[in-house]
Symmetry: C2
Subunit: 455 residues, 2 copies
Amino acid sequence: MYMRRLFFFALSLSSLIANAQQEDSIFIKRISDEIFINGKAYDNLHELTKTIGGRLSGSPQMVMAEQWGLKTMQQSGADKAWLQECQVPHWVRGGKDEATATVNKKKTKLNVLALGNSIGTDGKKLNAGVILVNSFDDVEAKKDELKGKIVFYNYKFNPTFVSPFQAYGDAVRYRGQGPSRAAKYGAVAVIVRSMSHGMNNYPHTGATRYDSAYAKIPALAIGLRDADWLDEQLKKAAVTISLKTNAHFLADTTGHNVIGELTGSEFPDQYITVGGHLDSWDPAEGAHDDGTGVVQTMEILRTFKALGYKPKHTIRFVLFANEENGLRGGTKYAEEAKSKKEKHIFALESDAGGFTPRGFGFNATDEQVSKAQKWSILLAPYSGGTLVKGGDGADIGPLQRTFNMPAAGLNPDPQRYFDYHHAANDVFENVNKRELELGAINMAALIYLVDKYGL
Amino acid sequence: MYMRRLFFFALSLSSLIANAQQEDSIFIKRISDEIFINGKAYDNLHELTKTIGGRLSGSPQMVMAEQWGLKTMQQSGADKAWLQECQVPHWVRGGKDEATATVNKKKTKLNVLALGNSIGTDGKKLNAGVILVNSFDDVEAKKDELKGKIVFYNYKFNPTFVSPFQAYGDAVRYRGQGPSRAAKYGAVAVIVRSMSHGMNNYPHTGATRYDSAYAKIPALAIGLRDADWLDEQLKKAAVTISLKTNAHFLADTTGHNVIGELTGSEFPDQYITVGGHLDSWDPAEGAHDDGTGVVQTMEILRTFKALGYKPKHTIRFVLFANEENGLRGGTKYAEEAKSKKEKHIFALESDAGGFTPRGFGFNATDEQVSKAQKWSILLAPYSGGTLVKGGDGADIGPLQRTFNMPAAGLNPDPQRYFDYHHAANDVFENVNKRELELGAINMAALIYLVDKYGL
């Protein structure tokens, strides 16, 4: 009898689970149909990239993007929408960066771009001999030769990592620390091989960080074809480079996070945050980085409203300020949440490009990850069923560390991201409408599941 | 004691399996490193697409491509390589296809492309009123109005299917059967909405098939923006179209499959076939369809030679002739295999584009699919771990039906394929090097596993 009861209990439990899963499956299909049929993400991305374009912190385009974000958040159906003020750094490129190499008296123009936060050359041309280094070990080995020279870091993206994000993690220290580690030994400027596998010649910018112990020196990224060419020349002959950049900082200025809210029906004072960052580097349109995250975020809001979905918890849709060179938006959001004693239960970020989603990475406990992995069967039909431990996002990092709650990041297919990242070809035309929409579908589905079941 | 023996047996069996899997994992990593570091697939694709371009059966480019294929097969390290002759159809476009719509006396040029196998307009312009139909049901409903008219099939790709291949399967009957089903009721030509989600305006060609019971009438594809425009006009006013195409058939001519072989060390008379098709439609470079399958096929050969891998079975690398409008290459390959009483144990095809692989689809028994699925853990790190029942490829179809052996097709991410399929933008620039290489890595790994363990 006992066995029989247990059996019936188990049966009814599993049919309850089956019913719930069927209900979820049906709702996620409705999300998918709504986004594939009536989606606005692609049109919104077109507007953001083509009418505003690059929108670095402090730029006039930043202000335009904030106003556009607020308007689009309202049009997407937010119960309330507002701007959250924060101070942001104001670095400007100040015109076109230039570099010309001279080899055996022959001059060749190089395709370069000052790294974000770099200082400039004081309106003058800086001329110096070039020293090739392939690693920081190489810097140490050649430390006595660096004084008065331009150091050329030619560390390559490792092709054997299946994910280019691993290659980026491996190589990006040369962009971050390269200038100061060369300045330590008297170098006058650095040129850094772009962080990319892509074999076009676009230089890829991105933030560098000066170590205050050493002199600040100008730092430029160079396109891959020019990097290979320069490497080739340096094996045969002495090379001098004449370079110029007007990069400099102005005083910090006022920027804003754009926030929209759907008020929770059961737990209005418990928050789920989903977002991407609104700022982007100046040489491009900031399409994959991170226009796609921005429009996916608002697409989830639009979809929930279109389907009449009333979340149990309050959902915050956030377009973060200043991810690229300061993280002031994400920091401000966490500080205000803390000072207002808000309760945050989950956060999700999309900042790895608008490519076909593969799944999500979770910064969460093993138990929470296991719970999320049970949803894999619901997301797999939409290409996002690979749920793994590890990952979230830069902007939601301060929030996650403040509240120690679970957080996640969308993991799209990673192969093309660094072809475009921080380079002039990060434009609308390189985003595929359906890949972008599939990302929004999976994000909306995950938010729905977390809202319904918690994590 | 019995239990204990069983336990030890199970233990040693599982450690044997673990050892074998570790060995396989190491070898597949060597495949991956070889292709990512020394890969030739991307350069080979550049050569094929940029020096030869479109290579429809019977064209001079077909002959060039065959010679290029033979040379590249030899350079990739084939023990033997040869051309296998077959007769192929020889359809030609005969110049630029044209169509101009007249609405309220205003003329508008349309972006059109004759469907493959279409007849032409005898050097004249064909003028007629246009009737919009959205389905074959619509054809039946309007059958009394079609006489002397141009029928415009505006059936759309269904956006709610997650895989565009499903939308293609749903819509492509209008390209295949549309002309004859309109001719049945006296239509004089058809214009078919292109088989694509992509919202640019490239018309997408592809084979149509005339039903010999009805008159053959000219058939053209139209770009999506023009299709939407035409649909819009037809809601408001009468539209006439003047169209011209010089499409026609010449006599069948001689084409060839390009075949390379690595001779098996244990079972030289048992064959594993891997291939893609060499022919491609004329308006483009045939990059994703199927230049990528062609160069991936030869990349597997090059990699096995570079790693010193000696297969147990003989592996055939085949660049098939005439997939697009006749399948004569695949048919010939199967016929000769049958007449020579060869033993074929497996075949693999890549003809769904050079995008990031997701896995393979198998035309095989449940037992064989289950066996293959145990390899998922080995392929997943390379993005190809989703192994499903269902699928193989057009070219290996005749072989599979002749020998009733297991066959499989590479399943890349499907979202972008129909943006380029049979259209002018199917060019080298739209192929990503690493996505292409990942496909070759997974294909090489699967061939290695089947060669080692059978299926």
